[in-house]
């Protein structure tokens, strides 16, 4: 699965984008976050304030209880500050 990071989430993880293999027990976005936090200290730091992270699956906003299903891309980022 393709994972993208933006703004300070990207800076903390240290990469813009990465491809990961989803273990079978990762069903929801929340599961995915738990999985990503285990990768290394950078990922762990990025997801430390979990409430401050927003998620999109295939470029649509979702909540963390959303099933990942067939989604090909997940993106993680802070609350938006455009406009």
């Amino acid at each position: 699965m393709n994972i993208r990071y933006f703004a300070w989430v990207r800076e903390r993880v240290g990469v813009e984008e990465e491809t990961i293999d989803l273990p079978g027990n990762v069903k929801t976005v929340a599961d995915l976050i738990t999985h990503l936090k285990g990768i290394d200290d950078y990922h762990a730091a990025a997801f430390e304030e979990e409430d401050a992270i927003r998620v999109a699956l295939d470029q649509v906003h979702v909540e963390t209880d959303e099933e990942i299903g067939d989604a090909r891309e997940a993106a993680f980022f802070p609350p938006m500050t455009g406009g």
């Binding site: 933006f6 703004a7 999109a56 609350p79 938006m80 500050t81 455009g82 406009g83």
Partner: protein, 153 residues
């Protein structure tokens, strides 16, 4: 004929006059045109620029979804949304919304709604570039923005 919004995410500045003209030219059914321009602000004099990062693809898609919702909710004759990305110095334009309608209430409300939703839903993030020493903090989202957006639900 159903109205289709014009949505653009771009590096370069936009031309408010040209965008307004596009929504009124040759028509007799537009009674009201509301345009909102959001500019880079720096009252403290500490910024050289705001750098706008965006999620390419999703930025356009999300702005189109918000614009589509505005078109469903108000009887608009035209709607344009343009959001810039990249480094934007104080005083320069960041975002443009132009809403045209037969009646002023619809044009005002649609533009107002669009800005509120855009603030909380469009994937853009602002980082400060400082006069004294490189990059500063990421701009934090304001609780007021969520409250503003909630006015429309």
């Amino acid at each position: 004929m159903p109205v289709v919004a014009k949505v653009k995410v771009q590096l370069e500045d936009f031309d408010v006059q040209a965008e307004s003209h596009r929504l009124t030219s040759g028509r007799r059914d537009v009674g009201a045109l509301v345009s909102f321009t959001g500019l880079c602000r720096d009252e403290a004099g500490t910024l050289t620029a705001l750098e706008l990062e965006h999620y390419p693809g999703m930025a356009e898609a999300e702005l189109s979804r918000i614009a589509g919702e505005a078109i469903e909710r108000w009887p608009l004759t035209g709607l344009t949304v343009i959001h810039r990305y990249g480094k934007i110095p104080p005083g320069d334009n960041i975002v443009l919304v132009v809403a045209a309608s037969s009646h002023r209430r619809a044009a005002f409300e649609a533009a107002d709604f669009l800005m509120d939703y855009l603030k909380t839903r469009a994937p853009f993030w602002k980082k400060e570039h400082l006069v004294e020493g490189g990059t500063g903090a990421w701009v934090e989202a304001k609780a007021g923005d969520d409250k503003d957006a909630a006015r429309w639900t």
